[in-house]
């Protein structure tokens, strides 16, 4: 059973991107800076933490990434995809199952296009490198990539301004920086060197706290 007493079970020190954290039963705690020295491994920090006589209740609790980044419960969401559909349909970027430009009258007319439906995902195509690709096999992709944006100007902008770019809300219309893009995942191509970044000593990054079962 998980608890916050002085001898907590299932506790690990993990080296995260922004420092050392303690993970205990799905909860995360920040390790105080005074217990960390330059060049420490997770093993070093775990040992120093065990010797400090502190309990978990004396560490600052962090939100779990899932609750923090995903949100606590499922919610009602944005209609960006419908904006993208309308823009691409009006621009003539989509074709039908015969490879012909979409007849917008079949979808409510140019000025009053209806929402995209499940059936449409099978019957509308986007032009890809190999030819027309079913909308069902496409993802919402950035027209300007995130890396490109970051290098060009994102790194100079405030977090709020960057988020506006991500959400594609400012300036209107919404959905202008997204498009339906043919998906691609070729694991055999990418997987030629699948563990390139895992070739590290795991004890550098995670270690049990000695004496804490």
């Amino acid at each position: 059973m998980c608890h916050l007493g002085p001898v907590p079970p299932n506790t690990k020190v993990i080296k995260g991107a922004s420092g050392f954290i303690v993970k205990h039963c799905g909860q995360f705690f920040r390790v105080p800076r005074k217990l960390i020295k330059h060049g420490d491994t997770a093993d070093d920090v775990a040992r120093r933490l065990a010797n400090s006589g502190r309990g978990l209740d004396q560490l600052k609790k962090l939100k779990s990434p899932r609750r923090h980044l995903l949100g606590p419960t499922p919610g009602k969401l944005d209609p960006t995809g419908q904006h993208v559909w309308r823009r691409m349909a009006r621009n003539g970027d989509l074709v039908d199952g015969d490879g012909l430009p979409l007849d917008l009258d079949d979808f409510g007319g140019r000025d009053s296009l209806r929402d995209l439906t499940k059936q449409d995902l099978k019957r509308i195509y986007v032009m890809g490198e190999d030819g027309p690709i079913q909308l069902k096999k496409c993802d919402m992709g950035h027209i300007e990539g995130a890396v490109e944006f970051w290098i060009d100007r994102g790194h100079r902008m405030s977090p709020d301004a960057r988020k506006q770019w991500m959400l594609d809300l400012e300036p209107p219309p919404p959905g202008k920086n997204y498009q339906f893009t043919p998906s691609s995942l070729n694991r055999s191509a990418g997987g030629r060197n699948p563990h390139r970044y895992r070739d590290v000593d795991p004890t550098v990054h995670a270690a049990d706290v000695p004496g804490w079962p």
Binding site: K15, G16, A17, S18, C25, Q27, S64, P65, R66, L69, L70, G71, T73, P74, G75, K76, L77, D78, T80, V95, D96, G97, D98, G99, L116, T117, K118, L121, K122, R123, Y125, M127, D130, G131, Q134, K137, M140, H142, A146, V147, F149, W150, I151, H155, R162, K163, M166, S183, L185, R187, S188, G190, G191, N193, P194, R196, Y197, R198, V200, H205
Partner: protein
Amino acid sequence: MTPDEFLKSMKAARKDLEAAEDARDTATLTTMYQHIRAAMPPDLPKINFQAISYTAVTRLLEAEAWDEAAHWLVKFEQGYGPDFYDVEFAHAVLEWHTGNPTHGKTLLQQVYRTHGTLPFRGFERYLAIARDNANALPPHTDTDDTLDIDHPLIQDLTNRINTAMDNEHYTDAIELCRQALHHLDDPATTDGPMWFLATAGEAYFAQGDYQRAHDAFDAAHRAQGGHTNPLVLLRLGECHIEHGNTDTGIEHLIAAHIADPTALEHAEPHHLEPLHQRGLP
């Protein structure tokens, strides 16, 4: 028949084809596509040839019209080449149903290992054969009894999932996500499924199962709201890096950082190496 005349006849037949598709009327679809195949002019422009053969194969496989699907697969392969993922997938399905099932299963597994869930979209029933594992997250299947995310049953499942995740009971959490997704409508057009797909992805990720984590986060990314969610972007990027798709992984990690400046704090440190090597962010 000239190409223009043929395309006009296709347009005239569209409603009947769609009706037969919706009704899964195998006999009508087979007859119609036999006539279309016979009337197809040899000088049809490539884009029309591709789209018509793609649509035909998709419809005929869905309707389980195997013989006619095999005829159209020849044209589909001519249009897109043998390495196109949906061509490989169609060959595997036909082998499974009309050839040697053992070889068909091997082909489906190869398609899944190479292209992930992408070719299986719309044909999710073959994923179970390809993955051969009961622990895999189920694909969306149309049911008549879909619930809204505000329904008490879904909210109860949400609470139980949160408890299971907090207690690191990841297998239980995945099973509960499976139950919730069974009750919800198509993730691409419905609010709510993204949360369950991403939570299941996080459970697989915590178990170190990066392949299934990728599949779950990829589905979450395509679900409503997924393309801007920092956790989905972060983990999808990490899974891509695990698979060696470094450029795609970096793109998603930077997008996660833009969506939430604290997102990268939660990355596995070795997944950030490619960013550091390129001086990002």
